[in-house]
Symmetry: C2
Subunit: 354 residues, 2 copies
DNA sequence: ACCTGGCACTCCGCAGCTTCGAGTGCCAGG
DNA sequence: CCTGGCACTCGAAGCTGCGGAGTGCCAGGT
């Protein structure tokens, strides 16, 4: 952080900070631009509107506030929100009720995808913003088992279980015919052989096997290898749960039909979402991106409140909320944080079943 | 159909029919209300606007047309569309390009859910309406196999394959511990025992087994039964693919933000969609529902173009397009029909693999 | 040095008015 | 039975004026 920036921020005298804080809070609540008069009336300041106007003018000069037009009140800028989040916000901890709902739901889910789906749903319902949960592809993790089941004469379902408990299944079509017996043998072999490997490693080892002398003559081995390669090459997507896109339909900032349309379509672009979530994956703890601070949020005046989940040992994903810049950060932050922790706990539990 | 209705419809003299047809077509194309003047200008009639006005007034009396307000042109009513669809429409057959796209895509997909997902996607892209594909739950069909795979110490994945090739997998948690060996045996047993049964029948037979003497003592059998019951009781949903809801954002009839919101939310109510699609499941061939002809479409001024797919022998689902009443029926009808046929063919092929 | 009331100014939103054009219905004449 | 003409209706668009909400600035008070 450049010194000048710091200087600015610390330079704000306490009164200005209070004013900024009040403006941001009121604006978040009402959505309107805040005038000096409303501010004076709120009772927190023993100042006349005129004095407040001076303070507000200063804050505008520093780039924390903006006026939509002359003779409208002031509205926080991205920087204003950022300052608010960094220095002024007092997180409102979750209500007992909310905590209960989260704990209850998370503990009742079983499969990991069920848990994640539920998490995005919870985020949506509890925040009334768009809830997003991201799980990176299995590719980066080691697998625990690899099984094959006959589905049709020429179709085999391959079931991969990651060390993190993620279960992925893919149906592959093969030119060989397999019997149940064979598949059972192959399952045993593959699991024994590859458990602990990442998919990438599995692929390399399979390829190496084809080169060995033995493979040329052992038909069974050939079939195993071919099936394994098919299975590993089958595309395995990351999972992205986006829930509650319709909740933006309510928000007054998107009352305009054209803007709404644009905003809505933006949320369908999963690739961009994945991209930005992946870029947050490194950082520990809660992250908040406001408006112009990232490409995606900047284009659409969004903010993102995100947190990594998962234990240190195993791969992580992200939970996040996406909404308009004007959102209740003080409530969203603890919500995302709590849910992230709950998920992490759940996942750690599942790793070491009692 | 009541005689009176028939009378009305057949009573329309050829000129009135032509006029109605032209109005519907022009309105579908432009979205505007059609005036006598525009109609006269189109060249298809050797009549003055005044004469056309008379014809139009008659059509309005009969309920085929309506005026949004005095001094606006005329717009087709539900009945108008219905008459158009039944008697006036000339289906425009698919372009070679479109047919090619469909055939190509359908033939390249493998798993049935992949095919269906693709189908809804195609419907959307080719029609620019909301594409819907519905597959009823597996419950009504006989199964071909039933396998179990170890996923974690206390979690078993159960894989059911229907005679129609549908593959369903569910992860169940059990209080027993299973080894790979056991699961393999159970899989063999279950498949041999239950292949050809509907899930309901499987459940009943499992329950009956618990009552037999043997079950009391044979631990292995107990475990099998418990697992089987878990698997069969795991909820198995119907599949519903809805794609392209965002395409209604474009349609001028939903320019108003409030209406758009309402419309959009309506499309999220999958239950109602399922309900209406299920009700169409009985009828063979293409079905078109216009506006007030059904609850769902009536509430939102939608129309639905739907068709059953699947072979006679095996269970069927529906493919459909949902859009505003003002849609190009002449193009949608063949599109849905063709896709339905393509799907049916694909499914029949998969039933009897060469 | 700082706060404050007052005042001029700007700008938005709204209500009311007019105008314009697009349609229709009806009628009388060919 | 068709047609041109005419009166009438209605909505969309544009203009105007006004009130309200805000701000900026200044001069005077503490």
């Amino acid at each position: 952080m450049p010194a000048k920036h710091d200087f600015h921020e610390l330079d704000l005298d306490p009164r200005a900070r209070e004013v900024l804080r009040e403006i941001v809070m009121q604006h978040i609540e009402s959505g309107d631009a805040i005038s000096s008069r409303t501010l004076a009336k709120c009772g927190r300041f023993d100042l006349s509107p005129a004095s407040l106007r001076n303070v507000m003018a200063d804050l505008e000069d520093l780039g924390y506030l903006a006026q939509p037009h002359t003779s409208a009140g002031r509205v926080p800028t991205d920087r204003g929100y950022r300052f608010f989040i960094n220095h002024l916000m007092k997180s409102r901890s979750l209500s007992a009720r909310e905590r209960e709902v989260i704990d209850d739901q998370v503990s009742h889910a079983h499969e990991i995808d069920e848990v994640l789906h539920l998490a995005s749903n919870l985020l949506w319902k509890l925040s009334d913003q768009v809830g997003v949960v991201f799980m990176p592809t299995l590719l980066q993790f080691a697998i625990r088992s690899m099984d094959f089941v006959l589905v049709a004469e020429n179709k085999i379902m391959c079931i991969l279980v990651g060390v993190n408990g993620v279960v992925v299944n893919k149906i592959v079509e093969t030119r060989f015919r397999f019997t149940r017996d064979e598949l059972e043998k192959i399952s045993r072999f593959s699991t024994a052989e590859f458990s602990g490997c990442t998919l990438d490693l599995v692929r390399r080892r399979l390829v190496r096997m084809t080169e060995q002398e033995r493979a040329q003559h052992d038909e069974m081995l050939q079939k195993t290898i071919s099936l394994g390669i098919e299975a590993v090459n089958a595309p395995i997507d990351h999972d992205l749960y986006v829930e509650g896109a319709e909740s933006i339909l309510n928000k007054p900032e998107f009352a305009d039909a054209a803007l709404l349309r644009k905003t809505f379509l933006a949320l369908q672009e999963k690739e961009r979402l994945v991209e930005i979530l992946e870029s947050c994956l490194q950082a520990e703890g809660l992250q908040i991106l406001v408006g112009s601070e990232s490409d995606f949020t900047g284009d659409h005046n969004f903010s993102i409140v995100a947190r990594r989940y998962g234990s240190q040992s195993t791969p992580n994903g992200m939970v996040a909320i996406i909404g308009p810049m004007r959102m209740e950060y003080a409530r969203m932050a603890p919500l995302v944080d709590y849910l992230g922790r709950a998920l992490s706990r759940k996942i750690e539990e599942q790793e070491q079943p009692r």
